[in-house]
Symmetry: C2
Subunit: 200 residues, 2 copies
DNA sequence: GCGCGCGCATGACATTCGTCACCATGCGCG
DNA sequence: CGCGCATGGTGACGAATGTCATGCGCGCGC
């Protein structure tokens, strides 16, 4: 019997996933949490074999949770289940020692399969991401990132300059670089691309 | 036995919700779809008593799906289950004759309850939204909405004009109106505001 | 010291955006 | 019919944006 913990911030999804996995005869949901902090405490108490966690949760994110588990020397193996097909997320997940990364777009049955595979010591990476994670890494440096983030919110160059204590011309230069690097046509498209890749 | 159809674009969530609801003795999941179009066809075939649908799905959204059901004179009662606590969504849902609006943040058990309530002819609205839905209503008309949606993706006025078969000047006019109505400083901020309110 | 790269700034220029006043068409309605 | 009203368009103008070439200081390696 594989003992698992589930962490997912949306209660309804948490409940549904737990119900689905509990139907498997070889899997038992021993703990559930709606944020990373609770999840960490429960993991320390229950010592689950496998941990299934979302990434975007209030407080401690799934990635931080995974890192914390590793730091505490817990044997639990981690599967990330998330909406976001962002190479940046996958890269950070793997760095945190995560053994599985699935998308919520994947068929439901795959989750149980993945849990078994990982319990046996295997790895499961969403095929959509397996290849592209390493080939195209984040081309932005962090001044470009900062500027682009604000531009994506709709701030003007002047407002961005004021917030970051730069001149307006510099802001425009950085945006221009970012737009070039991302192959975008303007600042908004650039922000969209970067966000979608998980680079913001 | 309550016969239900579930529409939800993330397969894993769809599977999990279906598994959970099928465990209820008085509920039977007779159809599932990952987009509004499939859902509509299945609804016409299966004539479910209750339809559970997400809002944000590729192709036909849950709101459009609900409107289409009403238009086809189907007796099915609709429950929206979504991540987004946006007043605009709720308002449009109610306009489409939807009987329930739940958040994925709500406890899982509430979904089955809501299905029963609605099957009996009742209504269920997420309490977080019940009050605020009516106070600030959507000031946009739908040409402004269409234009703003594309502008938020980073398209230029010229590209938007081409897509919508309008002149560039007209596009700029519509954007200008939208920016004014929303109190924004530019198109990007306007798109952000509208999106966050659920008006896009 | 010298050159070099890097972070930041400036100035100039063409393009795009935001605004406004105004025109044309079409449709419902008294 | 004439009228208002909604829908698209035009043209013009200033402001914001995107792009480049260039300058200037500062740390770092040699």
């Amino acid at each position: 019997m594989i003992r698992i913990l589930i962490a997912e911030d949306q209660s309804m999804i948490l409940g549904a996933l737990a119900a689905m996995l509990d139907m498997e005869t070889d899997i038992s949901v021993v703990a559930r949490a709606t944020n990373g902090n609770d999840a960490l405490h429960l993991a320390l108490e229950e010592k689950p074999d496998v941990v299934v966690t979302d990434i975007e949760m209030p407080g401690m994110s799934g990635l931080e949770f995974a890192a914390a588990l590793r730091e505490k020397q817990l044997a639990a193996r981690v599967i990330i289940v998330t909406t976001f097909a962002r190479p940046g997320y996958l890269r950070r997940a793997l760095d945190a020692g995560v053994k599985g990364y699935l998308l919520k777009d994947a068929p439901a049955q795959q989750l149980a399969e993945a849990i078994r595979t990982i319990h046996r010591g295997g790895k499961v990476i969403a095929p959509e991401l397996a290849t592209e994670a390493w080939e195209c890494s984040d081309p932005l440096n962090d001044r470009e990132r900062r500027v682009l983030r604000l531009a994506g919110e709709g701030l003007s160059s002047a407002e961005i300059a004021k917030q970051l204590f730069l001149s307006e011309g510099t802001v425009r230069n950085y945006l221009s670089e970012a737009i070039g690097k991302l192959g975008a046509g303007n600042r908004v498209e650039a922000a969209r691309i970067a966000r979608q890749k998980g680079w913001l």
